[in-house]
Subunit: 638 residues, 2 copies
């Protein structure tokens, strides 16, 4: 055993470690956070740490330059214990996870779009009848002349008040009823759900209780989890939250997660990571913020990709990743929160939006609801760019979906200086053709750059190409102050020198980044072409393109078209709608009809498995150029 | 701290005890069983132990004669630690609990009455359609051309096979589905419930599994718990069991139990005692006997008095015992077994038969179903004599119920030599008027008497009165070899001298026993009179009397009438139907219609609260003689 000392935020943590263990494992076992969105495979470069003393056995990495290596920089995931060592964990090694917690500050902001969406859905025939209510029930005190039991007494009261024949008092409520009634002289606050065919008493509380019926709409992404807390009585969004999916330590993508979940004890570990470590703390924080107990959460809605909703439900997911790619379910009946281990009222129904295929899940069916394309005769292309890319093409007549393995480049993954669209991310880039000098725009008030996000990357590569700095294969063909070559002769473009960054490390784009990005954009574009071809349609038939997902609102559609990521159609046909999965999840939460519409979307949508579709690989290879082997496809304005 | 050594079944158990602790508490804390059906109040006399060495501070008791006290006999509940001591715990001090486990050996025996009852219920319009089935489902293997998920694949199979639109696969089944399917090449054994409107997949198992759908009908009595395990597919009773209600250490009657349950932690302690210590071991034993896992138990039915069903469900019961005597519920919707903590399929519906009043519970509504009086124009009196006495008077037009606090005398409680109707109990007694010599009949093959049960007590007291040995106040008025006086001048009748008993102690009846018994029989008779009066009916209007309960099949109706316990009507109108509560519970388990009929019985039956009915106390006082102050009521044949 060797002694490893981690210096983290001014503290020293001494950990004993077996020789040969990876530094990342040593840290994670000791509860020390080090980012590893790629799951510790060396590909993302987010786990950079500094070897101060002692020794480590480290593999080479494109994320560490030779100079940096000399200075002691190492990737924690590909460095192995070979003696005592002292390791500094810089703030940048936790920035990826930290950033996730702060990038959704929706309180009072940006919530208007849900009201607008609700209005549009109403116009499309989706009802938004509020079914949850609170009321103070003053029951008559029992006496020798009125010896009706508590259960029947409350039932009688509700039946008379709401003129409904069927009153249900669930067992958990019955269990507390006698004491709550007597401690409050038979005057209690009740939380009820009233539908056309029955009244359900969700809870009985002291009359002074501040609790009111809440609902929580959730979008479980592979990387991050977003949620809205809604006052179900008044129909208002009270707060929002976004946190990192704590499953991230089991890998950045769904395949890694499935593999981990199939190991002994893995399924429960992954379930706990999302339910107990991610969702429950988030639910508790949101409830605390608005001043209600978690037992006031009486409905939840979860939109997630197929793998995420399987792992969330604790269902064996291994067959998803192996031919013939069979999930356990498309649709799943609402499950009581108690069975799922969620910190909410145990009888709260948890809606899980339906899947369409192994890689087109409930996030897409929920998202399609929010696009309204199911109610629109216009031919619409819906593209959700998150950790993966999913596409839906169709209109009110039909819809076809597919998934492309775009990888995490659009969220900054597998890009040396990549990051998500959070504070400090470069989201816009312009380059002067003559001087090759860039102009950048950074997210957040401080304006000091940390890294580059998906939209910034699209801009940068588009501009590099427009300025003739890189060729159609992504190779550097001009030289200058900003353009350098590394020791292996590969070109890099320095966006921000190290003196002007928040990390003390330059922000640059290298040929490997461009290569990764080209493959990601090619995956999206070839998927579009393959779907069009399967439906015997042309690009010209697309009347609307709706982009959603983690790529961020800063996406410049013109640049995205220029580099051959999106089809060359008039720019006014493009729009960005943000997190459509959360929007759809929210609508399903507050409207039974919206939920039923999502089920109907799931049932009617077809699924095209690209990996087994002839022609897809050819399309992909043809798209692995800027903009494409067939440049006529991308003559702007052409 | 003093050292107390218990000698139990040949073993020495050394326990440290604080001075002043009762010996019963010391033993119970150490896990040593000593009977205490009265809850340790000194009234039942079942906790007799022998002080061999050392000292104890003991209260006097009518259960210990002076000679016995000299010999070292003490009641454990009223003896307190005052120094080191060595205590022998004889077999008789555990006979009460031990006997409970062995008095229901229904295997293959006496089950015919259920078939007969089923036939009669069918004639009365109650359907017995079997809804549970097992089948082997051979699902098509998935392929790239058939990528339907597991959930939908099984749903499709069931939909096609049973031509039903609504197929439900509960979450617990979905969670195991992918693995079970793949481990068995998509050929699985399924347990389903098929009703008119839906098919529910209860379980999926390997095709070789021996499990089949089971149901368990339970009667939770205050003292003992009886159950039947039923093959729900074939509709056959496979085994039966009867065990002691492990709540007994919290008191013999419902009032003691409620008081204990209202103490801190008491409700959970009482719930655990019945669910985890009584029902779950019984369920496991029954399942093991028939060779099925407990997860094959897919429905349960529980009939119990109001207090017992509250404590079983973990519902606050304290208001039941205090004016105005309000239970938490009469009706309760079926509850999943998982929520109740029962060792069964977590989704198994547990039916709890409805209560009618604080002291007329689900055991009576279930019992009334079994009497068929709800479908009979004849005026019927139904009497259930268990640890308490409940009565129902009525016919197909109306039914009125009441409860009388008869106490445990009919089950041998509060009688010095009393015991339940188990092996060793004297169940019949005749006395020669001239010689005063008794003739007895003992339950069991061995024929060596241990004590006297309720039916034996009725006989004995009736015969003592007929022979002029006691007067109408229960005082001894003849002298002889069998009749003695104790040191205080109170008479006793020696039924069996100590040389001829199994315990080495004489079996006798003393004036205090007779006094207790007279009060018990007076409670029953005055309840009958009060109900008749409330309905403006006369004894002559009663066309049938049905007796049920723990008093045993040995009851001699003629003697019960002679002593003024039952009304003086022709003996051929009397019948005994055993444990009607279990019969009704069983019918509700196997027939939805029978369950609905019990609900209807509960809703239509009125409840007469005797304690607040004018005239009841006068009736009771008048009945506290043998047979009654008004002897004309009991002229046999008159």
């Amino acid at each position: 055993m060797y002694q490893i000392t981690f210096k983290v935020r001014g503290e020293n943590r001494l950990v004993l470690a077996e020789p040969g263990m990876s530094l990342l494992d040593v840290a994670q076992n000791a509860g020390i956070t080090i980012d590893a969105p790629c799951g510790g495979t060396g590909s993302c470069g987010k786990c950079r740490v500094l070897l101060l003393e002692g020794c480590l056995e480290s593999e080479k990495s494109r994320h560490i330059t030779e100079d940096e290596y000399e200075d002691g920089w190492r990737l924690a995931c590909t460095s192995f214990v070979s003696g005592d060592a002292v390791i500094a964990v810089p703030a940048s090694a936790t920035a990826y996870e930290d950033s996730l917690s702060s990038d959704f500050t929706a309180k009072g902001k940006d919530l208007g779009k849900y009201a607008e969406l609700q209005k549009k859905l109403s116009e499309a025939g989706i009802g938004f009848k509020r079914t949850f209510k609170t009321l103070t029930a003053k029951l008559p005190q029992p006496s020798l002349d009125d010896t009706m039991p508590d259960n029947e007494r409350l039932t009688r009261y509700m039946r008379d008040k709401f003129r409904t024949e069927r009153v249900e008092i669930p067992f958990v409520v019955l269990r507390k009823l006698p004491e709550v009634l007597r401690e409050n002289d038979f005057t209690v606050k009740c939380m009820v759900e009233l539908t056309t065919d029955r009244l359900l008493v969700f809870d009985v509380m002291p009359p002074g209780s501040q609790a009111f019926p809440c609902g929580i709409a959730i979008d479980i992404g592979t990387t991050s989890v977003s949620a809205l807390l809604i006052d179900m009585e008044k129909g208002k969004i009270l707060t929002a939250a976004s946190v990192a999916n704590r499953q991230i330590r089991y890998g950045a993508d769904v395949i890694h997660r499935i593999v981990e979940s199939a190991k002994p004890g893995g399924r429960e570990a992954l379930r706990k990571a999302i339910v107990e470590e991610t969702l429950n703390p988030m639910i508790r924080n949101m409830c605390e913020e608005v001043g209600v107990p978690t037992s006031a959460v009486c409905r939840l809605s979860v939109a997630a990709n197929t793998t995420m909703n399987h792992l969330f439900a604790g269902v064996y997911a291994d067959p998803i990743r192996m031919e013939p790619y069979i999930p356990a379910f498309f649709e799943i009946n609402p499950v009581p929160a108690g069975l799922l281990g969620l910190d909410a009222h145990p009888s709260a129904r948890v809606i899980i939006t339906p899947n369409v295929g192994s890689y087109v899940g409930g996030d897409i069916t929920a998202g399609v609801l929010a696009t309204l394309m199911w109610n629109d005769p216009q031919m619409t292309l819906f593209i959700d760019l998150g950790t993966n890319g999913e596409l839906v093409l169709g209109n009110s007549e039909f819809m076809m979906s597919c998934a492309c393995s775009a990888g995490p480049a659009f969220e900054g993954g597998e890009i040396v200086c990549g990051m998500r669209a959070a504070d400090g991310a470069i989201e816009e880039v312009k380059i002067d053709k003559d001087t090759m000098e860039p102009t950048i725009k950074v997210i957040g008030e401080e304006g000091i750059p940390v890294g580059i996000c998906g939209s910034g990357l699209i801009d940068a590569i588009s501009e590099l190409y427009r300025c003739g700095i890189i060729n159609s294969r992504g190779q550097f063909i001009r030289a200058g102050k900003r353009v350098k070559r590394d020791s292996e002769g590969k070109g890099i473009y320095m966006l921000v020198p190290k003196e002007k960054t928040a990390t003390g490390r330059g922000i640059f784009i290298d040929e490997a980044d461009i290569d990764n990005f080209i493959r990601a954009k090619a995956a999206v574009f070839s998927a579009i072409r393959t779907m069009l071809s399967a439906l015997s349609l042309e690009v010209e038939n697309i009347e609307r393109v709706i982009v959603a997902g983690g790529i961020g609102s800063g996406i410049n559609m013109e640049n995205a078209v220029r580099i051959g990521m999106l089809p060359n159609i008039p720019l006014e046909k493009y729009s960005y709608i943000g997190n459509s999965s959360l929007s759809g999840s929210c609508m399903a939460l507050i409207s039974q009809q919206a939920y039923e519409q999502i089920l109907s979307i799931g049932r009617s949508m077809t699924y095209l498995e690209l990996s087994t579709t002839p022609g897809y690989m050819d399309e992909f290879v043809a798209a692995c150029f800027i903009p494409h082997t067939d440049e006529t496809l991308f003559e702007i304005g052409g």
